[in-house]
Symmetry: C2
Subunit: 215 residues, 2 copies
């Protein structure tokens, strides 16, 4: 059966998945971009984010690449889609990723504020879901047409799906940085009690990669 | 100048330095011993804990060995010394480590309940300090005679010294296990704000080792 997956979600040594004070200049919160030192040089990120050929191969690339394999739809929290809070003032915010976003499949954005679907170049359409995580998952599964659904984040959205035991597997990267404040991925989450275990671990010079699997 | 160091303190992927429900059968809390899969096979731990010759060498051993180098005294929280809570009912509890403990230097145990010093075989004397962390550190520095002082833990004691910026460097190992509950080492601690940064990172098949240094 198709899976619900978290991929390439990076936390700091002190457990934070994003820094504090997210705004338009700090999409991952203050200091948050330092989390992705392992990902940015990879062939996958160079291609998806910048359209470059080349980039690093190896353990980091292996994990980056698996994150995009067999993904038929994404689910994002509203704060991952952008810095706008509260009701949409207009339709001008179209995501962080330009006219041709990295997704190339339907993306379901969890929000409390309805908005018409936003069709982008390259196969990405942003759908705005106001009925909660179960509705978003049902719509994403249908849109994925048998492929997996990837939960992009942020921390709050991953936690909501984890607490319902809906996530099948999570690839988490641990970066050698300290953030000090922000959102802790596993705050208030008892992973063994929810049935998760660490089933794989590999380390590159830039990050420790672990796979957490629901048993 | 002599340093105040944390060495070989292991946390789980979800950030816990000990499991829940410590008692005489679970000195590190339930599941806590799984943290030390990297340390137990090392030559240093085999020698110090079991008196064995042999044991593994490599990255894990390098970090285990550095933890005992140039250490002239230790500081422990009372719960690391044993499972007894409240006033000492008698003098019968003499630590987890038998007649000849692993320390071989003076050990200062933080407690609210006075007790006479306890002289063990092999150079270890447990001194019980009721005047708080600053007094324990002053006594440990004097006893160390110019060598470093090692804070053994637990989480609460390390946090108290961190909040006062008294720790010079910390070697933390991250083990590929999930504990789900217990004491989180970095709960409520903003390491960058306290002046700490990750200055070294090495990974073995069993753990990720990082050095956090006060700048």
């Amino acid at each position: 059966m198709a899976k619900l997956r978290v991929e390439g979600f990076t936390i700091s040594l002190d457990g934070f998945g994003a820094g504090p004070d997210q705004d338009i200049n700090n999409p991952l919160g203050v200091g948050g971009t330092s989390l992705h030192g392992w990902a940015m040089p990879t062939r996958t990120f160079q291609k998806y984010l910048f359209g470059n050929d080349g980039g690093e191969v190896g353990i980091d690339e292996d994990f980056a690449a698996r994150g995009f394999r067999n993904v038929g739809a994404w689910i994002l929290g509203r704060n991952m889609f952008g810095p706008v809070r509260g009701p949409w003032p207009d339709e001008s915010w179209r995501g962080w990723w330009g006219d041709n976003p990295v997704y190339h499949v339907p993306v379901f954005v969890l929000t409390h504020h309805a908005r018409a679907p936003l069709v982008m170049e390259g196969g990405t359409t942003f759908h705005f879901v106001t009925q909660g995580i179960a509705a978003a998952l049902a719509q994403a599964r249908e849109a994925a047409q048998g492929k997996d659904v990837r939960v992009g984040g942020g921390v709050n959205v991953i936690q909501q799906y984890l607490r319902q035991r809906l996530i099948d597997e999570m690839h988490i990267a641990i970066a050698p940085v300290l953030l000090g404040a922000g959102e802790r991925l596993f705050e208030g989450i008892n992973l063994p009690a929810l049935g998760y275990a660490c089933t794989r671990r590999e380390s590159s010079p830039l990050a420790t990669h672990v796979l957490l699997t629901r048993q």
